[in-house]
Amino acid sequence: MQAKAEGAARSNNAAAEQDIVQACWSCHGPVAVGDPFCSSCKAVQPPGQADHFQRMGLERSFDVDIDALEKAYFRMQRDLHPDRFATKTPKEKSLSQQQATSLNDAYETLKDPLDRAVYLAHLKGLDVLKEGCNALNDPVILMEAMEMREALAEAESADEVSDLTRRAQGDIADCEKELTSAFLGTDMDHIGTLITRLKYLRKLADETRFRRAELRSMA
C-alpha cells in the first residue's frame, strides 16, 4: 500500500509535469488536459491554457482554412455555448461561459487576417505595438498613406469613396498574400512591417466606410 501510494505520487508529478491529466471538478476522476468535457461524468471543464490554434484544432500558421475554422467553431459552440447549460448548476453555467468566451476569442482572432497576423507574430515572440509605427519609418508606406488620405479628403460622392474602398481592399489582399509567404520565413522585421502596413490599410478602409456613411446621411 505504501509503495503504491508513493508510486502514485511519483506518476502524479510526472503526469502533471507533462500536463496530461487533471482531476475533474465534478467527479474528481481523471480528465485529459484540453478536453472540454470529462469523459466519465460528462461535466464541462475549464477552458485551460491552449493557444487559439490548438483550441480550434488547427496548425499554427498564417494560412488558415477559414472553412475548417468555422466548422470547428460551430461544432464546439454547439456543445459549449451557455444556451446548452440554461438548466445546469451555476458552476457549469459559468464554465460554459468561459469556454464559449475562449472559443469566441480564438475564432475572432483567427478569422481576421490582421488579428491572426498580430497573434501569430506574438506567438513567435514579436509584439507589434498597438500603435505600431515601425512602418512609419518606411518612406514608401508613408507616401502611400498620405496619398490615399488626400484622395479620401477630396472625394465628393459616395461612389468616389467606394472606388477608394475597392482600392484599399485590393491593397489589403496583396498585403495578406505577402504576409503568407513572410510567415513561412524567419524575417520578423519584415513581418512587423507588413503587419503595420496591413493595420493602416484596414484603418483606411474603415475611414472610407465612415466617410461613405457620412455622405449618405447628408444626401
Binding site: A8, A15, I20, V21, H28, C41, H81, D83, T87, A213
Partner: protein
C-alpha cells in the same frame, strides 16, 4: 380579477404531462405583447377566446393603484387619460435627461428620482400616474404579470420561466431593467434574446433558410436591423444596428402633429394629444389599405374633420423611413456585404405593414421582402422555440453579438473602446491602464456604451473606483480592466492592480436601473409569492446540484467500479441512495448535507481513479515514445523494436 376569460383553444399545444412548469417565449413589445409556447419544436402563440394574440402593452391604474393590463386598459385611454400608461418600453433603463426628447410625446408627468434619497438609490425616473409614482420597471412588471397569468390560464399550469425578447439595440441599462421587471413579476428569465434573432429563428426553422438574411424590425418604438447567416441550424448574427427611439409611434406622432397644427381651438392639453395620437394610429392603419379617408377628431367638445390621402401620409413619414434605410446601409457596410448578396429580407413588427416601408425596403435590397409569418407574432414564436431549446434541448444554436461598443473613459473625456460592437457574445476583453500621478491610490472607472469619441455623447453605464493602489510613481501601476459580456448581453466590469493583486469587480448596475435595495423592497412589498418563490428557487437549485453530484458518482462507478471492494461499493451505493432520497424530499439543508457526505464518501474512490487515469496516460506517453524510438530505429534499418506485449510492462515498471 380576470379581465378576459381564457380557455384552451384546440390548437394550443399541451405541454408534456410531467413538466412541472413550462417555459414560454414573450415578445414584450412597445405597443403590444405576445406570448407563445413551443412543444416538440412546434410553437404556437397563445390566444384569448376571441383569437387575439396581441395584448396591448397598456396599463391602467385604478384609484387604489391596482393595475389593469391590455385591451380594457387601452379602451380607458380616451376616458381616463391620466391614469393609463402606454409605450413604457421606450422608458426602460432611461434617465430623465434621455427622455426629455420623448417627453413631449408622453402624456404623463415624468419625475426624476426624489432628491436627497439614501445613498444607493437609483436615478431611475418615476411616472406620476394619477398620483401613483411608478418606475418603468414596475409598470413593465405589471404587464409581465398579466402575461404570465394569462399564459397560466391557457396552459393550465404554472409558468415561472421565460425567454424575453428585447430590441437588439437595447443597451445594457434597458436589458437590466427588463430582467428586473421579470423578476418582479415572478418570472425567471432563461435568456434575453434579441428580437430580430428570435424572428430569424422562427423564420429559418420554418423555411429551412440557408445563407445571408436581413431582418428588418420596425416596432412601435424601436427599429432594429440585423444581418444573419443561417446554416444547418446555426444562426450567426454578423452585424446589427438600429435606433432605440424610432418606430411606428413616430409615424402616429407625425400625423397627430399635423392634425393639431391645424387645430383651430386652444392649445391642446395632454388628453387631447393622446386622443389625436390614437386617431393618428387609426389613420395609419386605414391608409395602409385605402388610398384616402376622412376622420373626425373631437377635442374639448369641439369637433373637426380631416381628410388625408396616402401620398400626403407618406410624405409625412418618409423622412422617418429614410432614416431606417440609411441604418440598413450602414449595417450592410459594417459586415462588408452588398445588398444583392442578401438572400431574403424578413419583416418584423406591425409598422412594416405600412406600404411605404415595404416599398423602400424592397428598393434597397432589390427584392420583395418576406412577410408570410405574421410580423406581429414571429418574434414571440422565435422566443418560444428558444425557451424550449434552453429547457428541453435542441439542435439549433444562436450566436449573437454585442450591438454597441463598450468602452471606458480615458483622459480628456475620451472613450477608449474595449469591446467593439458586433463582437460575438459571450466575450471578455482586458486592457491595461496606469496611474498619471505619483502616489495615486485610487482610480475611477467609468464604463460607457456607444460609438462616439467623447464620453458624454455615449451612454454612461456605471462608475466605480478601484482603491488601495499602493503608492508608486506615475505610470508604474498596472491596472488591468476586464469587460465581460454574458450571453444575455449584460456587462460585468472588474479592475485589478497587477503588481499587488488589489481587485474590485462589479456587475454593472446601470445608472438608471434599480438599486439592489429598491429591488428587494419592491419584491418584499409587492409580491405575495416573493418569499415562497425564493424558497422554491433555492430548493430547485439544490436539487440540480445534487443531481449533478449523483450523476457524476454513478458515471464514475460505471467506468471504474472495479476499483472498489464489495464493502466500499456498498458504502457508496448507500450514500447515493441517501442523497436520492433527500432530493425527493423538500428539505434543502438535508439535500446539501447529503451532497457533502457524498463528496466525502467518494474521495478515496476519486483518488484511486486519478491514479489509474494517470498511469494510463503515462503508458500512452511511454507507448508514443517507444513507438517513436522504434520508428527511428526502423529508419536506421536496425533490429526490430520490442514486441507490443512488452511495452505496457516497461511502462508500468514504476509501480
Amino acid at each position: 380579477m380576470a379581465l378576459l376569460q381564457i380557455y384552451e383553444p384546440g390548437e394550443t399545444p399541451a405541454p408534456h404531462e410531467n413538466d412541472a412548469d413550462v417555459a414560454v417565449g414573450i415578445d414584450l413589445g412597445t405597443t403590444n405583447s405576445v406570448t407563445a409556447v413551443s412543444v416538440d419544436g412546434k410553437a404556437e402563440v397563445l390566444r384569448d377566446e376571441d383569437g387575439q394574440a396581441l395584448v396591448p402593452s397598456v396599463v391602467a391604474y385604478a384609484p387604489d393603484g391596482s393595475p389593469i393590463v391590455g385591451g380594457l386598459a387601452k379602451s380607458l385611454i380616451a376616458m381616463r387619460p391620466d391614469s393609463v400608461v402606454s409605450s413604457i418600453k421606450r422608458l426602460m433603463g432611461r434617465g430623465i435627461e434621455d427622455i426629455k426628447s420623448v417627453a413631449g410625446h408622453l402624456p404623463f408627468t415624468v419625475e426624476p428620482a426624489p432628491e436627497g434619497e439614501a445613498a444607493g438609490a437609483s436615478r431611475m425616473v418615476r411616472l406620476n400616474v394619477d398620483g401613483h409614482k411608478l418606475t418603468p420597471v414596475e409598470i413593465s412588471s405589471h404587464i409581465l404579470t398579466a402575461l404570465k397569468e394569462r399564459a397560466e390560464g391557457v396552459l393550465d399550469r404554472e409558468v415561472s420561466r421565460a425567454v424575453i425578447t428585447v430590441p437588439a439595440y437595447f443597451d445594457d441599462a434597458a436589458r437590466t431593467a427588463t430582467k428586473d421587471a421579470a423578476r418582479l413579476a415572478g418570472l425567471e428569465v432563461l435568456r434575453l434574446v434579441n428580437e430580430p434573432t428570435a424572428a430569424a429563428l422562427a423564420y429559418g426553422l420554418d423555411k429551412e433558410a440557408e445563407g445571408l438574411y436581413a431582418v428588418y424590425d420596425l416596432g412601435g418604438g424601436t427599429f432594429d436591423i440585423s444581418l444573419l447567416r443561417m446554416e444547418k441550424g446555426v444562426f450567426q448574427v454578423l452585424s446589427t444596428g438600429g435606433d432605440a427611439a424610432l418606430g411606428g409611434d413616430d409615424f402616429d406622432h407625425a400625423v397627430a402633429e399635423h392634425f393639431l397644427k391645424d387645430w383651430t381651438g386652444k392649445t391642446p392639453g395632454s388628453g387631447a394629444v393622446k386622443q389625436a395620437v390614437a386617431m393618428a394610429r387609426e389613420v395609419k392603419e386605414a391608409l395602409s389599405a385605402e388610398d384616402q379617408g376622412t376622420w373626425t377628431l373631437e377635442l374639448d367638445g369641439e369637433e373637426q374633420s380631416f381628410a388625408l390621402d396616402r401620398a400626403a401620409f407618406e410624405a409625412m413619414i418618409e423622412p422617418l423611413v429614410k432614416r431606417t434605410i440609411r441604418i440598413c446601409e450602414d449595417v450592410l457596410d459594417d459586415a462588408d456585404v452588398t445588398p444583392d448578396r442578401v438572400k431574403g429580407v424578413v419583416l418584423v413588427g406591425g409598422s412594416t405593414r405600412v406600404p411605404l416601408v415595404r416599398k423602400m425596403v424592397a428598393g434597397l435590397f432589390g427584392r420583395e421582402p418576406l412577410a408570410d409569418i405574421d410580423p406581429d407574432e414571429v418574434v414571440a414564436v422565435g422566443a418560444a422555440l428558444q425557451a424550449e431549446a434552453l429547457t428541453v434541448g435542441s439542435d439549433t444554436l444562436l450566436l449573437d453579438v454585442t450591438p454597441l461598443s463598450l468602452g471606458i473613459e480615458t483622459m480628456g473625456g475620451l472613450t477608449e473602446k474595449i469591446i467593439p460592437r458586433n463582437t460575438p457574445i459571450p466575450v471578455a476583453k482586458a486592457q491595461e491602464f496606469t496611474t498619471y500621478q505619483d502616489g495615486q491610490s485610487a482610480m475611477a472607472i467609468h464604463a460607457v456604451q456607444g460609438e462616439r469619441e467623447m464620453v458624454d455623447q455615449n451612454r454612461s453605464l456605471a462608475r466605480f473606483t478601484l482603491r488601495g493602489i499602493p503608492p508608486m510613481t506615475a505610470g508604474a501601476a498596472r491596472i488591468r480592466v476586464t469587460y465581460a459580456v454574458d450571453a444575455d448581453g449584460l456587462l460585468t466590469v472588474s479592475a485589478r492592480e497587477e503588481t499587488t493583486g488589489t481587485e474590485q469587480s462589479i456587475e454593472v448596475k446601470p445608472s438608471y436601473g434599480l438599486s439592489e435595495d429598491e429591488m428587494s423592497q419592491m419584491l418584499y412589498d409587492s409580491m405575495k409569492h416573493a418569499k415562497d418563490d425564493m424558497t422554491l428557487r433555492l430548493l430547485a437549485e439544490s436539487r440540480v446540484e445534487a443531481g449533478r453530484a449523483v450523476g457524476a458518482v454513478k458515471a464514475a462507478l460505471e467506468i471504474d467500479g472495479d476499483l472498489l471492494t464489495d464493502d466500499d461499493r456498498k458504502a457508496i451505493d448507500a450514500i447515493v441512495a441517501e442523497t436520492e432520497a433527500a432530493v425527493a424530499g423538500e428539505d434543502r439543508d438535508a439535500i446539501s448535507a447529503a451532497v457533502e457526505k457524498l463528496e466525502e464518501g467518494t474521495r478515496v474512490f476519486a483518488e484511486q481513479r486519478m491514479d489509474r487515469g494517470i498511469r494510463a496516460a503515462l503508458r500512452g506517453v511511454e507507448v508514443e515514445r517507444l513507438d517513436k524510438a522504434a520508428h527511428e530505429r526502423d529508419q536506421q534499418g536496425e533490429e526490430q523494436a520490442a514486441s507490443p506485449d512488452d511495452r505496457p510492462k516497461s511502462a508500468e515498471a514504476g509501480d
